[in-house]
Assembly symmetry: C2
Homo-oligomer: 219 residues x 2
Amino acid sequence: MQKYVDTLKRSQLFYGVGDSEIVAMLNCLQAKMLIFKKGDYIFREGERIDHITVLVEGKILVQHDDFWGNRNIVNVIRVGEMFGEAYVAPESGALLNDVIAEEDSSVIFFDIKRILTVCSTACRFHSMVVQNLFFSISEKNRSLVQKIGHMSKRSTRAKLLSYLSDEAKRHNSNRFTIPFSRQQLADFLCVDRSAMSNELCKMRDEGLLKFDKNEFILL
Amino acid sequence: MQKYVDTLKRSQLFYGVGDSEIVAMLNCLQAKMLIFKKGDYIFREGERIDHITVLVEGKILVQHDDFWGNRNIVNVIRVGEMFGEAYVAPESGALLNDVIAEEDSSVIFFDIKRILTVCSTACRFHSMVVQNLFFSISEKNRSLVQKIGHMSKRSTRAKLLSYLSDEAKRHNSNRFTIPFSRQQLADFLCVDRSAMSNELCKMRDEGLLKFDKNEFILL
DNA sequence: ACTCCTTTGTTGTAAATACAACAGACTTGT
DNA sequence: ACAAGTCTGTTGTATTTACAACAAAGGAGT
């Protein structure tokens, strides 16, 4: 776990906390690391959890498959981001989605009780971590609202434009790489892959954008 | 503001805090109440805020209109619930939606700095309020994920069934009242009102459900 | 270099949806 | 009680989407 202290320092949860404090807190919070292979389930829909997690290596998808076989990719978790904050409240109920390793991934687990309870020993940065937890979940909240904004558009083209222009804004550049394959992007925007592919190519032919694999340039 | 102490006691933010403590904290946190008429904007998209709000009377809609005139109702805020938690973090950026009074409403505003800063005087319940803030935003997070679950369904009928069965589960009853008019429900599920109305009546004729105004019974 | 497998683009068709237009029921205010 | 306005249900049509099936391109492993 020691090798990931640098990653943790740049994570949402430990933002503003120094190296030595992080090492101390890993102990104080009794953190545990687990390694998952691509395709492994980290959590399953319906599970109840009492740990929050920080991804220190790999990529994770939060997704849901209905019984018609349609997949809905709810969120992507990247290195330094968290998962589980929304499901550790006393009355939160069971997970609404599956959480799956999209690449080989390393995940650190923290017992929520230990984070919310002020520890008796001297963890100076404990309250900062609690505040970071709040800011982190509020950021996730906003990203869900943005996703809803994309999905709310009526046509496939409008959904694509909404998503792509948002990504451009997020990267402060009209040139950016998306974290999705075509099928995954379709599952994220909840549209048909072939129709989306078709629409993307039409938009390219009309000179609205260029793309190569997962790299897009808006014009 | 005093007349709403009972309401605040049952609110997300002050859950577990006693009457006298609430009165003390209204002072300590320098809370301010504003009254809005039906149709008034409480916040506008693009605004930056540093207060969280608790609704003590009325009903509020969080919504977004795009330039094709399509309205997307992102969330409903009912008495006792909050708005703004997701936008008071230092780097949160501007509001992504409009916040509008759907009925005449009374709203109490709290400066986020005063909530996150432990006060020098004796507010014993201050840390409980911070924890409530975290639980409250995590609940909102889950309700957004549920809404995404409804919207992700491909057909209007599947969207309706997803939403209605969720409401039934939430009310622990197959008979319940929804907080939306038909147009609002369509805006919430992001479908065409007439197509949705049509689908609802088909489902009624097939014996799947009954409804009268906003009251639904699933069969 | 070869095969196997995955991903992406392409096309046609059937099905679903958005849109417009309207009628009837219900509200609200005078 | 009346008029004006809103909400809901209904229908037809044009548009859009989902689905299936396939071809081409790219990658992984032998």
